[in-house]
Amino acid sequence: MNSNDLPSLPYRILSVWYRHFLVYTRNLISNGLPPFLEPLIFLAGVGLGLGKYIVSMNNLPYIQYLASGLLVTSAMYTASFECTFGTFIRLEYDKVYDGILAAPITANDLIIGEIFWAGTKGCFFSFAVLTIVTVFGVIPIGLSLLAPVVGFFTGLMFASISLWVTSFVKTINHFNFYMTGVLSPMFFFSGVVFPISSLPKGLQPFAEIMPLTHVVRLVRAFCHHSFEISLFIDLIYVIFITIAMSILAVLRLKCRLIL
């Protein structure tokens, strides 16, 4: 064996991704079915109950308004769980990373592979929601079919943020603060459930800081075919946060992997 045959960078990242893919698809039913059931339950709840009280939001049927938001929140949650609890367990309990790092994979390859896997899961979860909302005719077919692409970028962004958070965490219970303190407010105040313009004026800038706000706008644009020039700002925000947080996550997690 000659070290000239060293696998290339994209290949190494892909092989980390493949490990996660293999683990995920091993339990196809228990992993693959819930992403489809969850939007179903949500839509049933809104359709049967809440929708009778709130008929429309921003000139859209409320169920359609909410459904388009769910396309990215599902991606946010799956990527966040994967890169907090999932990563922490692989890092501290199962020692999976130590095993991988004995192979010709660097800590950087490992972390980037992790982020891409979370992006893939985001894409899949968006796809699952899209399937349900399309089948039930909640969102008309059209550019909405591109929602999983937004889901992919949502996954990447929340993976990088979550990995950075994970790099500080010493015991697994600390993630509760992140889930309740960061992700839950994000769900309610990023224009998923109601428009940001309904928030008190003083709070609106905070909503603009939240990463979810920007992917919600992007996915809504595809779902409702309404494009504005300001969407570029949302896009740049997403790209910037993803890259910046990825770099921070890599730098910090590397110190925990290479002693």
């Binding site: 064996m1 092989s15 490990r19 091993r26 199962d94 020692k95 095993g99 991988i100 660097t106």
Partner: protein, 310 residues
């Protein structure tokens, strides 16, 4: 003389104020087995990790590590590509079965699918695990997991095998099976670097051993030579406390070296007859006359027992 596979010069490693490795120097020649021997916390694992880039040595101008002529701080990937690592802690992927564990590993090395499948079959057979091919990891015994970890490290036919305490906690049968396999691999040309705190393991496998304690090298050489040179051939261990007191009061000839720094006394001598005449005065039980081993050597050199936990 053949080019060294591993060359380590003046290497130090500190974690905060703790100095894990102090000024270590050694060379590992191709197709030999080099063993680190020492108690827990001696710095063995840290030294191993620095060799494949899992830990970074302290930066000093005169320190150097070369593995296949490459510095692990810069050429981590190249070194890992040519080496197999068996960690001290079992880090098999619990979420995958035996075959998949090996398969993803082959994938990390960029091996072709057919080659991986073929190597998996060969190695499972070699380590007597063929019947466990599709088992879950948690269904395996400790000995099977250990064999699987070694198989995983050998999947890509490495030139250097790094083993961190390969047989700790295993029963004697499995231990002997692993030793036998490692000897076969060495014969086939593999270079082996291992850590252990079992004297017998070092004696069975290693061409050269390096005894370390508190991060420092104490002595290095061939196991047989070290014993011959630094410790008497035979020893009496007194196991009974009152017998120990009696023994210490007896006149002891110059050819016997008593050592009572560790509870019950030990009597070392090159002459078996001298020790036998001592035992004849001690009665029939409560002592054990044996050949001295590396453990005694360690005790003599460091003034403490090898099994003391740090």
């Amino acid at each position: 003389m053949a080019e060294s596979i591993i060359k380590v010069l003046n290497v130090n490693k500190s974690y905060g104020t703790l100095k894990a490795v102090r000024n270590l120097n050694f060379n590992v020649l191709p197709s030999t087995c080099f063993g680190f021997l020492g108690p827990n916390g001696a710095g063995k694992t840290t030294m191993m990790k620095m060799i494949y880039g899992k830990a970074l040595r302290d930066v000093t101008s005169d320190s150097q590590i070369k593995v296949f002529g490459l510095d692990p701080d810069k050429y981590e990937l190249n070194i890992k590509f040519l080496s197999g690592v068996v960690p001290q802690e079992d880090n098999l992927d619990e979420e995958l079965n035996v075959w998949q564990n090996l398969y993803i590993y082959g994938n990390f090395y960029g091996m072709h699918r057919n080659v991986i499948c073929q190597r998996i079959d060969e190695l499972l057979k070699f380590f007597e695990l063929s019947s466990k091919k599709l088992s879950k990891i948690r269904e395996l015994s400790g000995g099977m997991k250990r064999r699987l970890l070694i198989a995983r490290a050998l999947l890509h036919t490495p030139r250097l095998l790094i083993l961190d305490e390969p047989t700790t906690g295993l029963d004697p049968q499995v231990r002997h099976l692993i030793w036998e396999k490692l000897r076969q691999l060495k014969k086939a040309g593999l270079t082996i670097l291992l850590t252990t705190h079992y004297m017998e393991e070092a004696f069975q496998l290693c061409d050269t051993i390096l005894i370390m304690d508190h991060g420092e090298k104490i002595i290095e050489g061939q196991p047989g030579t070290l014993l011959e040179k630094y410790i008497e051939a035979y020893v009496i261990e007194i196991q009974d406390e009152t017998l120990g007191e009696i023994a210490m009061k007896m006149p002891i000839p110059d050819s016997i070296r008593p050592d009572c720094s560790h509870g019950n006394p030990l009597f070392y001598s090159e002459s078996l007859n001298a020790l036998k005449s001592l035992t004849s005065r001690l009665g029939s039980g409560g002592y054990y006359l044996r050949q001295s081993n590396l453990e005694d050597l360690f005790l003599k050199l460091t003034g403490r027992a090898l099994n003391e936990q740090q």
